[in-house]
Each structure stands twice: as C-alpha cells, then as structure tokens.
C-alpha cells in the first residue's frame, strides 16, 4: 500500500515522512518567532505600564479564557491519539478523533466570537470610547486583540487542514497512516495549542489577585 503515498523527489516513504516532519518543525519555529515578537512587545509595555496592564487584565473574561484553554488542550489530546490510532491501523477510530478535533476547534472559535461580542459591548476596543482611563490599559487591549486575532487565524487555518484530513480519508482510512499529512497537520495543531497556553496567563490571569 505504501508505494502509492510516495511523491517525487522521494523514493522511500520513511524519508518522505522525515522530510515533511522536519520541514514542519522548521515552519513551526518561524511561527514561534512571530509570536515571540508580540510577546516581547507585550513584556516591554507591561514593564512601562504595570498598573495599566493589571487593571486591564482584570477586564478580560476568565471563564471564556479558561474554558477555551481546556477545549484547545482537549483537541490537542484527540489529534494526538488520532495519529497513534492511524499508525496502529485503527483508521476508523483515528477518523472519528479527527472529527472530534475539528468540532472542538469550531467550538473554540464560537466561544471566542461570543467573548469578542461581550468585549465590544464593554467598550474594550482601544479608541475614544475605551472603558478604562488608566495609562497603558489601551495598549494591553491592543495586544489582546492582535494576539488573540492572529491566534484565531491560526486556528482557522488548522481547522481547514484538519477538515482536509477528514474529507480525504473518509473512504480511504489507510491514507491517514500512509500519508505524512496527518503528522504535519497534528504538529501544526499542537503549536496552535501551545501558543494559546502561553497567551492564557498573559491575557487572562493578569491582575486577578489585586482585587
């Protein structure tokens, strides 16, 4: 079965898998550096405006943030088991786990959308009608919108990739184990989870103990 999954210039499936996973790791490292630039800017402004960041951090919705963290971690779990199931030739189980991953990703975006709606209603978009007057609070929310927005774009791209796996393997479960697509997609999805794991303390846990 394996020969049908080999694409030029590769002549062996193992080498093709190695090249795909190595290439994906390099891409993920470049993604880490993209977000690290945002984290660096956040760190500098937090150092300049500590009171503003603490006051603004208390305004984010910790329930949405925490539930969404749990949802993304669970989706990372389901796609991790999906890969192991595919490699163990339990294709049907792998397929359903990918469907679960996709569903959890959509749920994450729906909750994020509801949270954005509440944020807008509470005047937490930087501008003349902003809810807080303490210096630096608007800068915190600039980072909030940009970092969660860029992350949501990544979730959307990940959902498209997971949906591709679901559709492509619907009538060809062996493809999940043979193709390197499942591995590459799962690596990307895990990175999206890791980025959110770092965003969570930066945006949702700030200032909670300061009354």
């Amino acid at each position: 079965m394996s020969d049908s999954f080999i694409h030029p210039p590769f002549d062996a499936l193992a080498r093709q898998h190695q090249a795909v996973s190595f290439g994906m790791w390099l891409f993920l490292v470049s993604e880490v550096l993209l977000f690290a630039g945002l984290f660096a800017g956040y760190g500098v402004y937090r150092g300049i405006f500590p009171a503003g960041f603490l006051a603004a951090g208390r305004q984010t919705d910790i329930v949405y943030g925490t539930v969404n963290t749990a949802i993304l971690m669970t989706s990372s779990f389901t796609i991790a088991v999906a890969g192991r199931a595919a490699r163990a030739e339990l294709g049907r189980m792998a397929w359903w786990l990918l469907v679960a991953t996709f569903t959890l990703g959509v749920l994450f975006l729906v909750l994020k959308g509801l949270e954005y709606r509440e944020d807008i209603a509470k005047h937490l978009v930087p501008g003349p009608d902003f809810a807080l007057s303490v210096p630096g609070a608007q800068i915190f929310f600039s980072y909030y919108w940009i970092m969660t927005g860029v992350h949501a774009v990544h979730v959307t791209c990940g959902l498209i990739a997971v949906l591709r796996l679901v559709v492509a393997s619907r009538n060809n479960l062996a493809w999940l184990a043979g193709s390197a697509s499942e591995d590459a997609t799962a690596l990307y999805w895990h990175l999206v989870d890791i980025i959110w794991i770092v965003l969570y303390p930066l945006l949702y846990l700030v200032g909670r103990s300061h009354g």
Binding site: W25, L33, A80, R84, D193, P201, S209
Partner: protein, 94 residues
C-alpha cells in the same frame, strides 16, 4: 498485541498527559487569585512552560523523533531566549 492492548497503548500516555494539563490549568487559574505579589506572573508563566513542554514532548512526540527534528524544535526557544536577553539588557536595566 491484541486490540485491547493496542488501544490501551494508544490512549494511555496521551490520556495521562491530558489529565496533567487539566490539573495544571486548574492550578494556574486558582493561583492567579492568590496574592503572591510579584510572584503571580512568574508562577503563571512557569506553569505555562510546563504545559507547553508536556504538549511538545508527549503530544508532538519530540522524544520519539530523530535528532534532526529535536534540533529544529530546540532552535525556536533558544533564539527566543537570546532575543529576550538582548531586549531585557536594554529595557530592564535602565
């Protein structure tokens, strides 16, 4: 290996990892409300780092991969560390 053993083998490590991630999420959320002064931020970032390491090492199978992938994966945090040290050398020593 029969089906039951294979399924256990597939689920066990990821399931334990997921449980650890949930416990760490509960811990970091609770600790955020405990007044630790300047300690709140480093504690929450430390827990996030542990969670990220769990996802990287178990879910992304970093230790099962070959050295080439590990080298690529380590390059990210190393360069981020260099960037933060150089940045901190300016902003946080003024």
């Amino acid at each position: 290996m029969d089906d039951h053993a294979r399924i256990k083998d597939i689920w066990l490590r990821p399931l334990l990892t997921w449980l650890a991630l949930c416990a760490l999420l509960a811990a970091t959320c609770t600790l955020a409300y405990v007044p630790l002064g300047d300690g709140n931020f480093p504690v929450s970032l430390g827990i996030a780092a542990i969670k990220a390491a769990l996802v990287g090492s178990i879910f992304m199978r970093l230790f099962e991969n070959n050295a080439l992938n590990r080298l690529a994966a380590v390059a990210g945090p190393v360069w981020v560390f260099v960037m933060f040290v150089l940045m901190g050398a300016d902003y946080f020593t003024r």
